[in-house]
């Protein structure tokens, strides 16, 4: 009873309170809501520690079985970070002083590792574009054309290419003046149009769908119909 019913009651009560407060922000609802929001923020912090436990446990068990350099390095860097963090706190009154050892670790370890990890994606996306981006069907061709125009329209080189095309056109059709044509920046204009009209319409359609789904899900959770979070 307490294991399943109590959580459902709490969810119902908190969820409903927030909805009611939205419409009646006065006392006592408003104050209670604010209090709950502060609690929410406090409790959310603790969830971070949950992930840490499984990470440490996993690598400690691995290390206990046999020495493994990777697990060792991971745990070592974790504890080194903690030591430097608390040391910086003690020495500089805050771990976030830019000249503290903790921030040194941030600048010279976290930034390069995280940024480079994501920079790898540039290579993968270039290779994937070359390998998989084929005009196999009508839909795929549309996707390809839209992507190409946006890629040209969003960078300065698009205007250089357009100027080249404009000069070509005005050589063939001397009646069309080059200057007028070159000023048009066609790639940028089409790219802006794609972003603001068809792209915008499709995204709005998709997000209206997901918003409706999200609302339905939230209501199911509040009413206790959706309860996977307590059965897991």
């Amino acid at each position: 009873m307490i294991r399943t019913q109590l959580p459902l009651i709490i969810t119902f009560f908190t969820g409903m309170l927030l909805i009611v407060t939205f419409f009646i922000p006065h006392k006592p609802f408003g104050d209670l809501e604010q209090r709950f929001l502060i609690w929410y923020s406090i409790i959310s912090g603790f969830t971070v520690l949950l992930g840490l436990d499984s990470l440490v446990k996993y690598h400690l068990t691995k290390l206990k079985k046999e020495f493994n350099i990777h697990s060792f390095i991971l745990l070592f860097s974790l504890f080194l970070t903690l030591i430097l963090g608390f040391y910086s706190w003690f020495k500089f009154k805050t771990p976030f002083a830019l000249n503290s050892p903790f921030m040194y670790l941030y600048t010279y370890v976290i930034i390069p590792l995280q940024a480079t990890m994501f920079a790898l994606l540039a290579f993968f996306i270039a290779s994937a574009a070359y390998r998989a981006f084929r005009a196999r069907t009508f839909e795929a061709t549309l996707l390809l054309i839209a992507a190409t125009i946006v890629m040209l329209g969003r960078v300065p080189i698009g205007s250089y290419i357009w100027k080249g095309i404009a000069s070509f056109i005005s050589t063939i059709f001397p009646k069309i003046p080059y200057e007028e044509l070159a000023k048009k920046e066609i790639f940028a204009l089409i790219s802006d149009w794609i972003m603001n009209i068809p792209q915008n319409a499709a995204k709005r359609g998709i997000f209206i769908g997901t918003a409706l789904g999200g609302i339905a899900m939230s209501i199911r959770i509040i009413l206790g119909i959706e309860r996977t979070y307590i059965t897991k």
Partner: protein
């Protein structure tokens, strides 16, 4: 100064270790990857302590008086109860703080989605059909929604609109792809700038 030079060398070594993955998976990459996970996990602990537990719980507990002081014990206990998940036998207790956060999330989500998304977005689609762009925008939104409506068989007009929907969706995905390429390349530019500027000093 010397510490900065050592730091730059360290950062460059780690950058190259990650880039070495492009050739093939190798021990240097693996090592860098594990350092990353370890250091960022450590960071999170300090963050939770510095930005949550200390200012929101401990400092407040020390500075407030009366009933307010003791009410603070409720979120503190709920937070600690979250950690019962660490032990299989007591894991069910964590459902209590979890249900609290889920209730708040769901309650906030309902009103925000309606007030902050559905109403303004639908409102912005109710346009006078006087220009081609307005017509395209309205048709685009409707046909995209129709494309994702699976409760009715795609036949006749319905099929026409769902087909139109896919055209809009493909253009949108293409545009998103173009933007994603742009974003990924920018990240690489950032890293190469670091190597050329901070590490090798080739460019000012």
């Amino acid at each position: 100064m010397i510490l900065n030079i050592i730091g730059t060398w360290l950062a460059a070594t780690l950058t190259l270790a990650i880039f070495s993955f492009l050739y093939k998976d190798n021990p240097f990459y693996k090592l860098a990857e594990h350092i990353y996970v370890g250091v960022s996990a450590g960071f999170w602990v300090i963050y939770v302590w510095a930005f949550d537990i200390k200012p929101m719980l401990i400092d407040r507990f020390l500075t407030t008086t009366g009933i307010e002081k003791w009410i603070l014990l409720i979120p503190a206990i709920l937070g600690v109860l979250m950690l019962t998940r660490w032990f299989p036998k007591t894991a069910w207790i964590s459902r209590i703080p979890l249900s609290f956060t889920i209730g708040i999330g769901a309650g906030l989500g309902v009103t925000a989605s309606i007030q902050g998304f559905l109403i303004p977005q639908i409102g912005a689609t109710l346009l006078p059909l006087t220009t081609i762009n307005n017509i395209l925008l309205v048709i685009g939104v409707i046909s995209t929604i129709i494309y994702f409506y699976f409760s009715k068989e795609f036949k006749g007009t319905w099929k026409f609109f769902s087909r139109l929907g896919i055209i809009f969706i493909m253009i949108a995905f293409g545009a998103s792809f173009g933007y994603t390429v742009m974003a990924r390349i920018s990240l690489l530019i950032g890293r190469i700038y670091f190597l050329l500027h901070n590490f090798l000093n080739i460019i000012p």
